[in-house]
């Protein structure tokens, strides 16, 4: 255990070191950095964090992070309301948004089903999805969950819940990463890519 000159520094270091990817050395460096700056720098930071924590909301349609009861994506006029892309987490929404290839809406589940890990369907935003696609203009649900057994199970399960509605159900394509060499692709991915090949344009 490191010896700190001050209890105040020690407390601050301990709090910051709780963040992922930050050890106590880095935390100490950040703390000393803040002390070197003007007081306003630190206060601006703590105020931003406080407001983030207290004022953050989750969109009542898609459960994405929002500043208001509805998120900026759900509010945007130009988005295609016939498409809903189902993802695990807000990070996944940001990842798809960064591609600038998708104009539809989202639905954030908050995880994937795994009874072994103590996650059952009722812990996820599945009911609201079912309700939402019934009541909205949604025509297609696109599953963009991780290509793991949990992800596949979750897709299969939700698809079962949606089977009575006149919807198109799709999943994002899985294939060989662009710029990689074919011989290094794993067999399952390559096999699936061959089976779900696309016609050449």
């Amino acid at each position: 255990m490191q010896v700190f000159a001050s209890k105040l520094i020690e407390n601050a270091v301990q709090e910051i070191a709780k963040l992922p990817g930050i050890g106590s050395k880095t935390a100490l460096r950040l703390v000393l950095h803040l002390l070197k700056q003007n007081e306003t720098t630190t206060l601006a930071l703590t105020e931003a964090l406080r407001r983030l924590r207290q004022d953050i909301q989750y969109c009542r349609h898609c459960h994405f992070i929002a500043d208001a009861p509805e998120c900026s994506i759900c509010l945007a006029r130009h988005r295609d309301r016939s498409l809903v892309c189902v993802v695990e987490s807000p990070q996944d929404v940001m990842a798809v948004e960064n591609t600038a290839q998708y104009q539809g809406l989202y639905h954030v589940l908050g995880g994937v089903i795994s009874p072994m890990a103590g996650v059952s369907p009722s812990d996820l935003k599945i009911d609201t999805l079912v309700e939402r696609v019934q009541k909205s203009e949604c025509k297609e649900v696109i599953f963009a969950l991780s290509p793991t057994m949990e992800g596949d199970t979750t897709t299969f399960y939700i698809t079962k819940k949606l089977r009575d509605f006149p919807l198109k159900i799709s999943t994002i394509a899985r294939g060989v990463p662009i710029g990689s060499e074919l011989e290094y692709a794993d067999e399952i991915t390559l096999g699936r890519s061959i089976l779900t090949r696309t016609s050449y344009e």
Binding site: I113, P115, M116, S122
Partner: protein
């Protein structure tokens, strides 16, 4: 294909060991407890990425140490191939082939096949169905890379389904759709595993029968059969029928995880009615048939690991085995014996390259070529 060199660090009772082998017979001799079986186990590990005796890797580390490594150099058509297995406490084990780490162990299984004949084989007769499934699964996995993958997938759905049944028991909320989701996974992979096991047994049968006849003479006929819930006409229905029982018992009571392989002699259970000698013949025939089928499917001779074979076999069965050795049936052979003079006299007559390693408390004492 044969093992040319092995290097151990902190594996079981070996602090550090390096040995060179020839393609012929390698006899490991030494007192009980010196480490002969552990060395065979290290070779088993290189082939199947796990110990033949202890699935808990933590316990395969030498006492008071933090890791073990096993390195082997195999020769295949004169070019060397290295296999590295390393395990450090609380870490994922690492398997490398020619310096490359595998993504999945199933890519390795079958590249350097071994067949081990050990006193523990009798567990196949004495213990429950799990021991028999493990044996046949490991044989099939050596000749079919997809099989292991299917088993892992099935296992995944089974564990999730059992977890679901447990939650139901605790919380009394039943999600039929989720259960059916896991049923679908188990049915899909269960069907593949069932078909493969069935098909395998058909191929295995003639090898097994002929090995048994060679060992025991024409006197009696052994039976080996496969029983599975998947043999029913409507297995999907069977899953649904078992719902209530599953919920009550908090585990899945139907599926290929309950398959069994039935050992019989003249239609009577081997375990209850087979004599000591008949049981030995049956086990040896299983292992020699394993050798034969792997050899046929992979077109190479598995390395044979014979643990305390001279203690276990009587003269007649020993004679049959020695006969096979002299007919060049096998490739490289490792055998252990606590009595060097016995090994010397049995093996002396054989016209094969032979080496004897004297092991003492986890160290090589001397080597003798004879």
């Amino acid at each position: 294909m044969y093992l040319e060199q092995i290097e151990l660090q902190n594996f079981k009772n070996y602090a550090s060991l390096s040995l060179h082998f020839t393609p012929g017979i390698q006899a490991l001799v030494g007192e009980n407890g010196s480490g002969k079986t552990n060395l065979l186990d290290a070779i088993h590990y290189l082939s199947l990425t796990k110990s033949a005796f202890n699935p808990i890797d933590q316990q395969n580390i030498r006492h008071h140490e933090g890791y073990f490594t096993i390195k082997g150099v195999f020769k295949r058509e004169n070019s060397p191939e290295t296999v590295f297995c390393g395990y450090e406490k609380a870490r994922k084990k690492i398997i490398r082939h020619n310096e490359l780490t595998y993504e999945k162990v199933s890519q390795h299984i079958g590249r350097f096949p071994v067949v081990m004949i050990a006193p523990q084989d009798q567990d196949l007769i004495l213990e429950g169905s799990e021991a028999r499934r493990r044996f046949f699964d490991s044989v099939i996995a050596q000749i079919d890379a997809e099989y292991l993958q299917n088993l892992l997938h099935y296992q995944y759905y089974l564990q999730q389904r059992n977890a679901l049944l447990k939650t139901y028991y605790e919380q009394r909320q039943w999600d039929e759709d989720l259960c059916q989701t896991y049923d679908a996974g188990m049915l899909h992979f269960g069907q593949k595993i069932y078909a493969r096991r069935q098909h395998f047994l058909q191929d295995f049968q003639p090898f097994f029968q002929s090995q048994y006849q060679q060992l025991a003479g024409q006197k009696e006929s052994p039976q080996l059969s496969y029983h599975s819930d998947f043999g029913q006409t409507d297995i999907a229905q069977a899953f649904i029928k078992a719902r209530e029982a599953d919920q009550r018992l908090q585990r899945t009571t139907v599926g290929i995880h309950r398959d069994d392989f039935i050992f019989q002699l003249e239609s009577y259970p081997l375990k209850k009615f087979g004599s000591q000698g008949q049981q030995k013949s049956y086990l040896l025939a299983l292992k020699l048939a394993q050798f034969a089928i792997v050899r046929q499917e992979l077109a190479l001779k598995p390395i044979l690991l014979l643990d305390d074979i001279f203690d276990k076999l009587d003269d007649a069965r020993m004679q049959a085995l020695v006969e096979m050795v002299s007919q060049q049936t096998f490739g490289q052979i490792f055998l252990t014996d606590a009595r060097p003079e016995r090994s010397l006299s049995v093996l002396a007559a054989l016209n094969t390259e032979k080496q004897m390693f004297f092991i003492q408390q986890g160290k090589l004492n001397k080597t003798q070529i004879f």
